[in-house]
């Protein structure tokens, strides 16, 4: 294994730059993380974080959208972007000699021209994306469930926005959001693999960032979690899709590792408690549970898919399993298995610079410093079962919210 080096700098305008340098890597991965997402949108801006992410690919003052796409391709980049409730991430990987050019491309893109004709065309693309998810009942169950569970808080409103909210986004609104959120001190540039740190800093120090200044630290209000049960029927849906939510812990919380391990013992898709209760006997096609830590709070979430006729018995079994886990706890064997499996997964992701990129960024943003793969693996292996039992002692699943999306019986008949 080669020597890894951690680099970190904060530039004069507040931009953070972090890297995990691996001289033996065959590629370089570059990311820009903006600490903003649907959670930071005003009500009239619903969907703007994601829309802006799309629009950044449509070019800046010097380049059209086609220029941007061709420039990425000419670098041989594997690249993309995504938007979540809390972060917007642009990322890519190239051969080392193209690393700096990839960074320059991202840097330029993030000052989008927002031409009216591009906005109109890209709006159609986002509306198609919304229509695509409308045809996925599992995604629908989560979207509708989150809206109810997080009780109208911006966190549960959905990242894509609705058809109506996206239609209402014009250039001024997008520009206003960009002004407020895409500020230098709200961005993190992250590099992994084989990159040139000196050249990176020289470039970033020269690059003009007109949005320099202090980002408005709007309070990210933690949602009120609302336990209970909800549901909807929809024509065209054939099976029952269940989304389940329960209180977890936040990103910065020292218990987050225990929460991940606990979730694994309950909801791993090969060997979790729900698998043996539901999938192994063939009552559900899927029964998975995971922990989703966010800024200031977190949630356990689960998905189940089953025949609508079996819904009641499936929900009864889920109730029984969660109750059993809360009552009896987790066996030492299951806990150790979760530790080992998680450790292998982390090591595998660490094989490539691209696999490391988001971990490096989030360890800095969530925990204040970069943790190497081995350090995280050690943390996983050190996290004791008692930490999981302590989480269970709070009986999180008593406060769960269950949302069921079912076939519309009338339409089916």
């Amino acid at each position: 294994m080669s020597e890894l080096r951690i680099d970190h700098a904060v530039l004069a305008d507040g931009l953070q730059v972090v890297g995990e340098h691996n001289p033996a890597a065959a590629s370089t991965a570059v990311g820009v993380v903006i600490e903003t997402g649907s959670r930071d949108e005003r009500p009239e801006e619903h969907g703007v974080s994601h829309f802006l992410e799309h629009l950044c690919f449509k070019g800046d003052e010097r380049r059209t959208g086609s220029d941007v796409s061709r420039a990425f391709d000419a670098l041989g980049a594997r690249y993309n972007a995504y938007t979540s409730e809390e972060r917007t991430v642009y990322y890519g990987a190239v051969l080392p000699e193209a690393g700096l050019a990839l960074l320059e491309l991202f840097d330029g893109m993030l000052r989008p021209a927002l031409r009216p004709e591009d906005i109109e065309l890209e709006r159609q693309v986002v509306l198609e994306e919304i229509a695509m998810y409308a045809d996925r009942p599992d995604a629908q169950a989560f979207e509708r469930g989150a809206r109810a569970y997080f009780d109208a808080n911006a966190f549960g409103r959905g990242v894509l926005g609705t058809e109506a909210s996206v239609r209402a986004l014009d250039a001024d609104r997008v520009r206003g959001y960009w002004d407020r959120r895409y500020r230098a001190d709200n961005q993190l540039v992250v590099l992994t693999g084989n990159y040139d740190w000196g050249a990176t800093l020289r470039f970033l120090e020269r690059a003009p960032r007109p949005a320099a200044g202090t980002v408005e630290r709007a309070q990210r209000l933690a949602p009120t979690a609302r336990p209970g049960r909800g549901g909807a029927r929809k024509a065209g849906v054939h099976r029952a899709h269940v989304a389940l939510f329960a209180p977890g812990v936040g990103r910065g919380d020292p218990r987050r590792m225990a929460a991940s391990l606990l979730a694994h013992t309950i909801g791993d898709d090969d060997n979790g408690a729900l698998f043996w209760a539901l999938v192994e006997p063939g009552i559900a096609d899927s029964a998975v549970l995971w922990h989703d830590p966010a800024d200031g709070f977190g949630s356990f979430q689960a998905y189940l898919g089953c025949d609508a006729a079996d819904l009641d018995s499936v929900l009864e079994r889920v109730d029984a399993e969660l109750e059993r886990v809360q009552r009896e706890g987790v066996t030492e064997g299951a806990w150790r298995q979760a530790q080992r499996t998680l450790a292998t997964g982390l090591t595998l992701r660490g094989e490539t610079p691209m696999g490391r990129l988001v971990s490096v960024a989030s360890s800095l943003l969530d925990r204040g410093r970069v943790q190497g793969v081995q350090e995280v693996v050690d943390e996983v292996l050190r996290t004791e079962r008692s930490a999981g039992e302590a989480l269970l002692a709070e009986r999180p699943f008593d406060a769960r919210y269950t949302f069921v999306l079912e076939p519309d019986a009338a339409a089916a008949a």
Binding site: S27, S69, D73, G76, R123, E128, A235, R239, T347
Partner: protein, 413 residues
Amino acid sequence: MTESFPPFDVRLGNGLRVVAEPMPWLATVSLVLLLPVGSANDPEDGIGSAAILSEWLQRGAGERDARGYADALDALGVRRGGGVGRETLSLSAAFLQRDTAAVLPLLADAVRAPLLGDASFEGVRALALQDLDATLDSPAQRAGEALVAAYFESAHGRSAYGERSHLERLTPAAARADAAERIGPAGAVLAIAGGIDVAALPALLESTFGAWRGASRDLPAPLVRAPHERSVPADSAQVQIGMATPAVDLDHPGWYAQQLALAVLDGNMGARLFSEVREKRGLVYSVSAGTRLVRGHAYLVARAGTTPERAAETIAVVAAEIARLRAGVEADELERAAVQLRSSLVMSGEASGARASRLASDVMHLGRARSLGEVDAALAGLGLDDVNAFLAQTPEPRFTSVTLGPVGAAVAS
């Protein structure tokens, strides 16, 4: 290129082909076992038997019942994967290098000594039926199934999920008999990549996979139907579009020219499809095209999803772009495509899982594994004239196409 590749390539006494590529800088190992078992060689009255076997093989092996088997793998932190397709049943695993000697016997047990017990059969059958039904709620997947069914005349058109009535009728005895006739080492490929010690492999293999006995069943020869159009009614927001047309196979001299041309068509966001269908016209969120292989036949599949009123235009633009390839590609497009493919190639060499999958698939389809260097040299050796000469002699594409969506959605020819 004179060095022989792969460094480890043997046929065990029982007929199992094993290929391995050491990646000595990795602490991880990935392994893929491919068996020529799929819906295409399912028994006439047991379509779905391969799907059943794929799951049943994991429900206990050797001395261990289902739970004991899963626990033994998890105790070693093994990440498992696998599944079944039309022509192959795959079992994959990733684990830490230091556990290789403990993991291999366990993995070999799944094919060498699966329990295939009556007690677990009903659960496996129920799960197979659930998985089949779950496709009803995934329009994109349904359209993909419908396209393959329309394209192939031979048993390759069967769904890998099987047929409901066959799954319902299948008995444990019939499935066991089927396993005895085709879960065998002849024709199967075991590929290993990562931090392995090649010198230790022969002894390790002999005592594990070397002890596997069993028969094999041939795959049928692929047979393609005359081009035609099908529409499948579905109550969905989008129309799913699938188009297929023959392509040259992996062993054809034109294969690499075709790969380059397809990268011009759909290598990334600067490629023709993305540019014409999404960027210029905003018709879709997702559009893609690429080659698919079955043994002895390659075909091009294009996919897109769009709202009903835009379906006809989307189909027309996709078809026109594919047809336009015959007129040749431009020098700058080709250069971007070559950089794309070649840097992707380098990056695929960083991840053990990607390498193991590629080795296994090469042996299945080509009879031998290609090194990254061989592929790179083949791509680098092709200039604009070569690619355009290849394209000029390709026949005009005639598509078998499928649309899945609201009744009355436009279908264009």
